[in-house]
């Protein structure tokens, strides 16, 4: 299932770094944060598997917009973050 633009999503508050070697493309400062899907960018092989030369499933990649004040210190009004996040890291909020 592909998430539609405008869908409110929460980034999983998950920390694979604490469980052993990994390659994670979801920045720490977005984990557990809620944002809005801007668009589906396409489907791409999972870098978490490619990084270990494992067979990699194609996963949907999204542009997700986050209001900056919730995430970054010293924000300016209207600041936001636009990040690329793979589907398995997102749950509907």
């Amino acid at each position: 299932m592909t998430l539609a633009p405008g869908t409110r999503v929460k980034v999983r508050d998950d920390w694979p770094e604490t469980r052993g070697p990994c390659h994670i493309r979801t920045p720490h400062y977005l984990r557990g944060e809620t944002g809005t899907v801007v668009r589906h960018l396409g489907d791409f092989p999972n870098p978490e598997d490619l990084a270990f030369a494992r067979p990699a499933a194609r996963l949907p990649l999204y542009h997700v917009r986050f209001a900056l004040p919730a995430i970054w210190p010293e924000p300016h009004a209207g600041d936001e973050i636009l990040a690329e996040v793979f589907g398995p890291w997102l749950e509907e909020a």
Binding site: D13, I24, R31
Partner: protein, 107 residues
């Protein structure tokens, strides 16, 4: 949960430094960097390894992220690449540590 912790205290990887105040307080040099012959050679080697499907850019990144933290901050951008490439190729059995050491000695 971890996301309620200040950025410094989250169990983030060393390269995942967005919002970590230790780095926000350091000046950033935005001037263009001149590529050295070493930089160009390392970049070319990585491209050939990718084209020949020996090693992907994702493996390169993982290798960089696995460097000892002191080395990561001390080394140049392409020095990190070189250590990731040699470490990955040794781990994949493309050549051995001994062969690498011998090649460096003869270089």
């Amino acid at each position: 949960m971890e996301h309620d912790l200040p950025p410094e205290d989250r169990p983030h990887a060393m390269h995942d430094i967005g919002g970590v105040s230790r780095f926000m307080c350091e000046p950033v040099d935005p001037s263009p960097h001149t590529l050295t012959a070493f930089d160009r050679e390392v970049d070319a080697i990585r491209q050939i390894l990718g084209m020949k499907q020996v090693m992907s850019v994702d493996e390169l990144r993982r290798g960089i992220e696995a460097l000892p933290e002191a080395d990561y901050h001390r080394l140049s951008y392409y020095q990190r690449w070189m250590l990731s490439i040699t470490g990955t190729l040794v781990a994949k059995g493309v050549f051995t540590e001994a062969e690498l050491a011998a090649a460096l000695r003869d270089a």
